[in-house]
Structure formats: C-alpha cells, structure tokens
Symmetry: C2
Subunit: 348 residues, 2 copies
C-alpha cells in the first residue's frame, strides 16, 4: 500500500486528522467511541485510520491518561508448578481484559532485593498499573510488605492471616482444608498417625498446610509427630524421606507438594520400603506428572489457575471502578486418591 520504506515514526492521530480533514480531537473521539460524532465524520476518520494503518500508542495513552492496563506479577519462581499455574491464570484473565502482564522475579536468597522490589514496584506504579504479588514464600511476603500503601496490589497468599496489611485485597487457596482432607484420608485407611514433610513456610508461624494436618490428627486423637522441614524440590523430600525411612513406625507420610513426595518416594525405594505396602505417601497440588508416577501419587488438587484468574479479577476491580469487586470464591480442594496410599502393613 503506502511506502513501507522506513517511515520509522508511527502514524499519530494528527496524521489521521489531516488525512480525514478533521481535528485530532475528533480522531481521539472516534477511537474512544465517544457518542457525539456525526456518523459520516466517523466513517471518514475510520477510513483514514484504516488506510494509514494507525494504531494507538499505548505509551502515550498511559502517560496522558494515567491508566496503563498493565499488571506486574512479582514472584520468586516461575518454574515450580504452583507458581507457573497461578501465573498462567493471571495471564489468561489479563489477556481477556486486554491487559499487559509483566513479570518480576524476586531473588529469594538475600535481602538485597529491597532495591529490586522497589524498582519493579516503581515500574508498575509509573502509569497506574497494578501489582500482583505471589506471597507463598518469605521473599514474596517481604515483597508484599514492601509495596507502598497507595499502590493497587493484590496478594496471592498462603492463608488469610498472613498478609501484614489487612486493608489490601488478597486471594488464597484453602491449603488448610486440603491438608486436612489428605490427612483424614490417610487416617481413615487405618494408619495410627501421619508424618508430614513441610514446604518452607511463608512466615515464621505455622503454615496453613501444617495446621490442617495437625487439626486432623488432633481430631482423631492420633499422636502428633514433629513436621520435617523440606524444601521446594525433590531433593529436600529425598533427604527427609531418608530420615523417616529409619523409623519403622512411620507408615504414612504427607508431603507439602508433589515434588517433595517424589523425593520421599525415591528415598523409601532406596531403603527397601514398599509403597503403599509399607508406607503410604500423599502429595499436594496434583502436578501434571503425578498421575503417571509409579506408584501414581495420591494428592490434593488445588485450582491454581483459577486462583490466578481471581487475583486478576480482584485487581481489575480495584483499578477500574466499572467491574464491582467480586469476592474471591475459595475453590474446594479435591482429594485425588491414587496408588501411593493404602492401608498400613498387616491390615490388608
């Protein structure tokens, strides 16, 4: 059509305006669907837009209007299943609302990320963008706390009790209920008690998963062993599994996530314990590969994607008064019983 040459500068509304023989403001009205534009004029402007290939510059839009239609997700990890799923849910919902999503990874180790967080926060704050912080771990919690009070932010937290500020919205999955269900499942099979290998908690306090597990034990009058501290990955589970394998009384193990369970299972195998013959193992999250392990893993499914969508919806409501802020429906965690759990030895 027109010379694609190297007219590097993009066409602006003033270019369109002169082409259509109107003022730039009229063009602005057309692209914003303002009611009071004469149909014939609108037609002419649209034709010019089409012909020149005009596309509204979102940077200028953000600067002038103060709204940026952007969300930044702050997270400490993008490769773990839970995190990635939440992110995916956010992206999905954001795309549907034609929002841009940016990610900022938090260096979990040091506290030097203070500056990094500030920079990330700053960037999204520039033009009225929103922020979603995945606060499942200390780094995330710290980041959430570091967000200035006047910034629109939604936290994805482990438990409603954990956010330091009660005036900002959050979403959560019912980890407590999930752990409760899984523990009850194991107890109902006849196990005297259930041991627990924990993921790192987001705070110093007892995590939601831990507390659900404890409650189930308590209600059943079962002994309450001390939870083992694991990590996020299978390596931590493996280490914890080796410790537990030394104790012949251990017949059921609940793990803070599926990767941990994988490591535990591996350790039990190495020490010659049969699953579920000698020891039952249950995981958490229902990662995609868990159904295909041998033995396939009993676990609790959490709707991370839905959680991400809720987080965005909430933020969307905060940013634009149009959509009323719907309360986040906490989806019910679903117990998925597979091969890795069964009755304890001698109770076939």
């Amino acid at each position: 059509m027109n010379v694609t040459g190297h007219t590097r500068r993009s066409v602006s509304i003033r270019d369109v305006a002169t082409a259509a023989g109107v003022s730039y403001q009229t063009v602005s009205r057309v692209i914003n669907d303002h009611p009071s534009v004469k149909p014939s004029t609108r037609e002419r402007v649209l034709a010019a837009i089409d012909e020149l290939g005009f596309r509204r510059n979102s940077t200028a839009l953000a600067l002038a209007s103060g709204r940026s239609r952007a969300v930044t997700v702050l997270t400490s990890n993008t490769t773990h299943y839970g995190y990635a799923s939440v992110l995916q849910g956010i992206e999905e919902a954001a795309r549907a609302a034609s929002y841009t999503v940016g990610i900022g990874v938090l260096e979990s180790a040091d506290e030097a990320d203070e500056a990094a967080v500030a920079a990330q926060v700053q960037r999204s704050a520039d033009a009225g963008g929103g922020l979603i912080v995945i606060a499942y771990d200390p780094a995330g919690v710290r980041a959430l706390g570091a967000v200035p009070a006047d910034l629109p932010v939604v936290g994805v937290v482990e438990t409603p009790a954990s956010p330091p500020r009660d005036d900002r919205p959050w979403v959560w999955a019912d980890d407590r209920e999930a752990a409760y269900k899984a523990t009850r499942h194991l107890l109902s099979l006849g196990h005297k008690t259930v041991h627990y290998v924990a993921i790192p908690s987001s705070t110093r306090r007892t995590s939601a998963r831990t507390s659900g597990w404890q409650q189930a034990l308590k209600e059943a009058g079962a002994p309450q062993p001390r939870p083992l501290q694991g990590s996020w990955g299978p390596a931590g589970g493996h280490a914890a599994g080796l410790k537990l394998a030394g104790n012949p009384d251990v017949t059921a193990i609940l793990c803070g996530n599926d990767d941990l369970a994988l490591g535990v299972i591996r350790a039990l195998h190495e020490t010659g314990r049969a699953i579920p013959g000698d020891v039952s193992v249950a995981g958490f999250d229902d990662a995609p590969h868990s159904a295909y392990l041998t033995p396939s893993l009993t676990t609790v499914r959490l709707d991370f994607t839905g959680l991400g969508r809720s987080a965005f919806a909430l933020l969307h409501g905060v940013l634009e008064e149009s959509a009323p802020i719907a309360p986040h429906p906490v989806s019910v965690p679903e117990l998925v019983v597979r091969e890795s759990s069964g009755p304890p030895p001698g109770r076939e």
Copy 2:
C-alpha cells in the same frame, strides 16, 4: 484533592527543579549523569531528589526518548519445564540489564491468535521495546512469522533451519546433537535399534531431535523404525508406550522430553515390562524431577536458562548499539546416564 488525600501525582523533575532552585533541564542532566554539571549543583539536585522521593517516570521516558527498556516474550506455554526455564533465563538477563519483561501467551489451538499476536506485538513495538518469540511449536513459529519486519525480535527456535526469515537473529539449543548422543548411548549398550516417541514438531518437516536420532541409527546400520507421534505431556507418552509395549522387539525407547518418558515408563510398568531389564528408556531435557523417579531417568540435559540469557543478550545488542552482538554460543548438550537405561535382555 484526591479522595485518599494523598498527593497522588508523583513528583516530576520540575518539582525537583524548583526545590533545588535550578531548571528542569539541569535535573534531567543530573539523573542522566551528564558530565557538564557543576558538582555543587549536582549535589543540591541530588539532595532535592532524595528529599522529595523523586523517581523517574519510565512511561514518560519511553514516550520522549523512544526507548523503553522492555522485552516481551511470546510463548505458548509457561508451565512446561523447557519453556519456563527459557523464560527464567530471559528474565534473569533482563533484570541484570534493568529491562522490564512482559509475557504474552499464545493460544496454541486456533489461528484466531492472529489478532492477539498483532496486539502483543503492537504493544511492545509502541515504544521501541523488543520481542522474543519462543518458537518451539507451531503456534510460536506462526507468531514469529507474523512479526512485522521492522521490529526488533529474536527467535528461540528448534533448529537454525526453521526460522522463515534469515535476516532476523535467533538462538537455539543443539537438539540434534542431543538426540544423537542419547541414541548412541542406547546403541552402545547393545540394543539393536532405538524407538522414538516424538514431541510435536514446530514445523511439518522432520524435527531436529528426530533427525539426530535417525542419523545415529543410520551410522550404526540399525533399522530405522517409524517415530511415534506423542504430545508434550505424560499422557501422550503413556499412549505411545502402550503401543510399543505390544511389540516384544522393542528394547530401547528415546522420548522427546522427560514428561513423555514418564508416560512411557508408566505404560511399560502397567504391561509388566521391567525397566531397564526389558526395556531401556531415555528422556530429554533433564527436568528437575527426573533424577528422583524410580527408576531415575537417563536423559540429555539442555541449558535452557542459558538459552534464555543468550536470547536476551542478542536482543539487547540489537536494541542498543552499545553492546556488540555476540554470537550465541551453542552449549553442548550433556548426556546424563541414570537407572532407566541398561543393556538389552539376555546381554547382562
């Protein structure tokens, strides 16, 4: 003023200027480290900046200067290990260069993403931002093809032959070599041939992994079975595994990725084949859980994170003439031998 009563508008360089008793341009010079500013003046301005809590507005910066220090990553999936790792590498490098990274997920199914791609592309193009497209699958390849010619973009591709445009930069991992190594490993154990369960190819042509596998077979004079078409996840591997399990001649299976291998192993288990006693299985990628499977998985490790870093470095070079465009060093894939591979039955 505002409902919250706070000074919602952020401090601008003009605010700083009046506070420091200089002109806004002098402030601009200070924040840009321009040499010709009297030390005493600089001092005064910095003090004012500090006192008022000024932070440069990146939106305005982008609009005025045309540079945005932003990268958008287009990908069809964020939960699969390989994709997530590449993304992580990109983010890492981008953060180090203080770039913002945005993500856009491509709806892999329909071709209606034409518009979506255009929107994503548009957004990152607005202010001179760059684009990285992960083109490991048809959706990605299509997106890469849809990027306007004048836009700075780097493709993360399966093989150097696949990008439709030779004038744009790309990075790749040596999948061919990796498949070759894994196949040779299996052959060296004494297997007559190696079957292959493929991941979906990015193009209609033979994928790099497939071709590396074929080459190894050819060089060894081994029969070349037809590759089985899998999917990305364990389900596809399971289906393929069931098919292969029916054939007693199958003693070695190479899988397009570790998830596929997981499914294959599961299927073999279900049909009573021992691993590696009856059948050896090798995967691809070395996902974090592969070392902890039972049996642990022989696989080929690829440096996805490094690939992501390279992609960003390349793009960075294109966007800013400062850093010379270093050619992407193709890292050598590393064979990781674990328990799932061994000599064929009867050749202990």
